[in-house]
Amino acid sequence: MLGLSILSIGLMVVDHLSNILDDARAGLSVLVTPVVVIADYPNKTAEVFREVFSSREEMQTRIIDLDQELLLLKVKTQEMAALRAENNRLRDLLGSAAKIQDNVLVGELIGVDPDPKRHEVVIDKGLNHNVFVGQPVLDAQGLMGQVIEVSLFTSRVLLISDESHSVPVQVVRSNLRLIARGTGVSHQLELRHLQNTADIRPGDFLVSSGLGDRFPIGYPVGTVNKVEHDPGKPFATATATPSAQLNRTRHVLLVFNEEKLDTIDAGDGSSG
């Protein structure tokens, strides 16, 4: 018993302080992957049932709605292509690097951390799809989080609403740079160290600022919903609502930055 206890403590310390156990963990994860997959079945079946038992009319209206949405999005994409070309030309003129177009991979959420205090989810793509630790994860509306653990078939994503997570953001209107920290509540982010004179107000739109080299620049993060100036305190406080639907999305997008892919393909020899 004593031996195993010491072994456990040793493992915990090593696991906490370094990442040399990550491979062992990834290996063991393969053993428990079936459990995660089976645990997802009730949800999956519920979804299938909803589709099977929805009426013909409901389906038709849904198809019409989707068609209209698709049309709208197509129009927007056309504008976007022109804008992107123009943006890259202007960046060329300014002498700054052209914005790289990001590749995405669609993943499906197959598990949610049972501890309500930890905002982590498990998705069904892992090393077999070149997912890497630190990879940004989006949903259709905005930034969701980042990959913190990869095993062969699954990976674990830390959401931006987790208390231990922070994301560098920028206010679109005033270009003010801030840090948005998770609060442990899935519909709230906290903006820290906000100067009392900072140009920010409710309704401001926040996008990722690209600082910190973790998240790509310009993805929607949230909308400021409250700014409080307390004269007795050195900093004002503000909260924001995340754009991503953190607790109800089932499909997520994993972002592959092309630069990153190149460095992975080239191995460790090339410098970034």
């Binding site: 018993m1 195993l4 206890s5 072994l7 456990s8 403590i9 040793g10 493992l11 915990m12 696991d15 906490h16 156990l21 062992a24 963990r25 063991l28 994860s29 053993l31 428990v32 459990v35 995660v36 089976i38 645990a39 997802d40 009730p42 949800n43 519920a46 598990g111 949610v112 951390d113 049972p114 501890d115 309500p116 205090k117 930890r118 982590e120 653990e149 674990r156 231990s164 899935s186 607790n247 109800r248």
Partner: protein
Amino acid sequence: MLVMAAVAEIRSNGLWVIVASFIIAMLFSVVALPDSIPWELGYLRPQWVVLVLIYWIIALPHRIGIVVAWLVGLLLDVLLGSLLGQHGMAFIVVAYIASSLYQRLRMFAVWQQSLIVFATVGLSQMINFWVENLAGLSEWDMWYLVSAFISALLWPWVFMVLRYLRRVFNVT
């Protein structure tokens, strides 16, 4: 001949029932709650794996002991993404208590067993909390003990179901 006999014995004494019960307990501990119910209810989730572990230790102390408990804990760590060894550590303590008290626990009425289960699950939750706290991952919350309380309430049913399975499949 001896080897054949040993293989036959392993087959006949229902190892798969034990393995299956642990897998189902793990399923119950990760299965996602529907979006329609409030997320706070997640705190009420009982510690299924600890309950199953305690049962098998009381029922089969010669087969299920500290080493099995540690291995199950390690798998649970991987499943839940906690620090490797955290649940292992907690389960060693559970297994130690259960295996030193198994003769007494067998004589107890089910509600008395529930009290011991509450104390044991509570202790394992405390160990989990200490580890997470030292690693800077969580703050103290009374919900840890609520989960132990729910586990104790569920113990009689877990006990009856597992005892039924053990008798039907003749697990010895």
